[in-house]
Amino acid sequence: MAEIKKILIANRGEIAVRVINTCRSKGIKTVSIYKPEEKDYPHALLADESICLGEGTLGETYLNHDLLIEIAKKLRADAIHPGYGFLSENAAFSSRVRKEGIIFIGPSEDSMKLMGDKISSKVKMEEINAPLIPGYHGDNQDPAFLATKAKEIGYPVLVKASAGGGGKGMRIVRSEKEFNDSLAAAKREAMNAFGDDKVLVEKFIVNPRHIEVQVFSDQHGNHLHLLERECSIQRRYQKIVEESPSPALTPEIRKEITETAAKIASGIDYEGAGTVEFILDEDGKFYFLEMNTRLQVEHPVTEMITGLDLVDLQIQVAEGKPLPIKQEDVVARGHAIEVRLYAEDPDNEFLPSTGKIERVGAPSMPGTRLDTGFEDGNEVTINFDPMLAKLIVHSSDRHQAIEKMKAVLPDVPFYGVRTNRDYLMRILKHPKFIEGETFTHFVDTWKDELGPNEISPEEMAKAILVYLKAGQSTLGGANSGPNKNPGPWERLSSLRNV
């Protein structure tokens, strides 16, 4: 067991700040890195020591293995935390770090390689009996054979070009009698688009939900799950609303899906924090999608409902300590929701926006958390991820969590850049979201209803009032003028006329 005393955070933005915060509580020193244009960003300032990486491409700076290792060695960091993205799932980097005698806070090189590859991961999943989407991915392209396979899989099925992408050479087939025509059409399109008419046949999930399970493993063979997160609300294939517990899981499905995830972690002899992603269909059947071998963006949702600090657990596991909790200690308490605030224009294809942040703000209610890598005065540029912040709320139940999120979203205006805040608010107010009818096509299905609303005269009058009057710090002397503070009886008697 090696005690970690100083950590180099090989990342930036909100995740670097988040790792620093846990280190501050643990009394672990931190080293952060930044590019010259980021010298005023929180991650460049909140660490005990910070190193400017100099100008250059990402490859020359944040992704520069040699440089990061040199910094870690010079500043005597005994561990590197890779955050998410960047080098967090880079097997070569993790291996290099370890060879240099530095602790890499993450899973083994082998786990990363195994789960980072679509083919090898699925072979392994079959081996350990994890559920995969039923399908035929083989070479036999005989229409009659494929039709038999389709029947075995069960309609509806998806016929998809093996070489495909972007929806070309893809057909949803809803019944046996449509199969031959759809197959022919898909093959024609595939040949035209990719010069290869090979197709695969897979079960088509009608109303899919994205359910993922947080897993945690130590070096002593303990493999736990920390319950699920539902992340079905996505735009442009990126999650924007995440929650736990999932409104779709019955206790039985929850037990099954979380145990499957823990079994996968155990089956690949995993170490540290990981996330197993599944697709859940309308019948409560779920299928393995992929495993992310790192901390996930939306991990605060799990922290809120379990009361655990996942970075603290990562550090303890990396130090060789056994996990300080048992499976039966992991209990969901209340409901947590996270929304991702992006610098983007939801009413114009979600195109990223830029600007100088005039005011970040802060959520005003207890049981809330704002994870951000920005502060007032920072520039939002196109050089980095347009995610401005994650706003997370915890409350007694899903209904109260939604209401709390609606109450605190206006507290974080991020004035100065166009954001998706109003768009998120429209999602939170959508009846289907409130009912928990959250599928991965939610944003497309309700596109029109999620667009900007008409502004009523009442709303205009309010906006005018605020524009003309806000910013005055005082409103004349206290209690001056007539009727400034009517006594309660006057106030009550005037109410009688209402």
């Binding site: 206006p410 004035y415 709303e459 003309l468 009057k469 910013g471 005055q472 409103l475």
Partner: protein, 164 residues
């Protein structure tokens, strides 16, 4: 007096029918709305409408909109496009926030150069010098010394000089 503001790219006409002791009545689209301002500070602005308290806030620069009842509105003065109302460097000669006109610094009719101080106003307990956004002739001060002005209101009329 009819006034105009841009709200989300729409030109909106309105009337202030009352503005006294924190009580404000605004008419938009033939409908009248009665407000009572309860609190105003840099972080938030709280007013009462229909017997209920409403929460809002405004961007520090006043240029990035307002949030009222959880909804964001882009709002600001009508863009005239003319040199008089907006300088080439984008500095409008309007009140940055509500306050009081302290001192007029030049005479009406005076030639001024870009950057010259035209008047001083006091707001949020600070003094702000409103400067000429371009070279020109000062045609008119819309407010006199001691007058209270709202935020975002044009303060002077400056006639630009062609090819000065």
């Amino acid at each position: 007096m009819k006034k105009k503001l841009m709200i989300e790219n729409q030109e909106i006409e309105f009337f202030i029918l009352k503005d006294q002791d924190g009580e404000v009545m605004i008419e938009v689209d033939g409908q009248k709305f009665d407000f009572k301002v309860l609190k105003s500070n840099p972080e938030h602005f709280i007013f009462s409408y229909g017997g209920r308290n409403h929460f809002s806030n405004i961007s520090p620069s006043r240029r990035s909109g307002v949030i009222v009842d959880g909804k964001t509105y882009k709002i600001g003065p009508i863009e005239r496009g003319g040199a008089a109302s907006k300088g080439s460097d984008g500095e409008a000669m309007s009140s940055p926030m509500p306050g009081k006109i302290l001192k007029l610094l030049v005479e009406v009719g005076a030639k001024v150069s870009k950057g010259d101080g035209l008047l001083i106003m006091e707001a949020m307990k600070m003094e702000h010098t409103i400067k000429a956004s371009n070279d020109g002739v000062l045609e008119k001060f819309h407010y006199q010394e001691g007058e209270l002005v709202d935020g975002g209101v044009e303060l002077v009329e400056l006639k630009g000089m062609e090819e000065a």
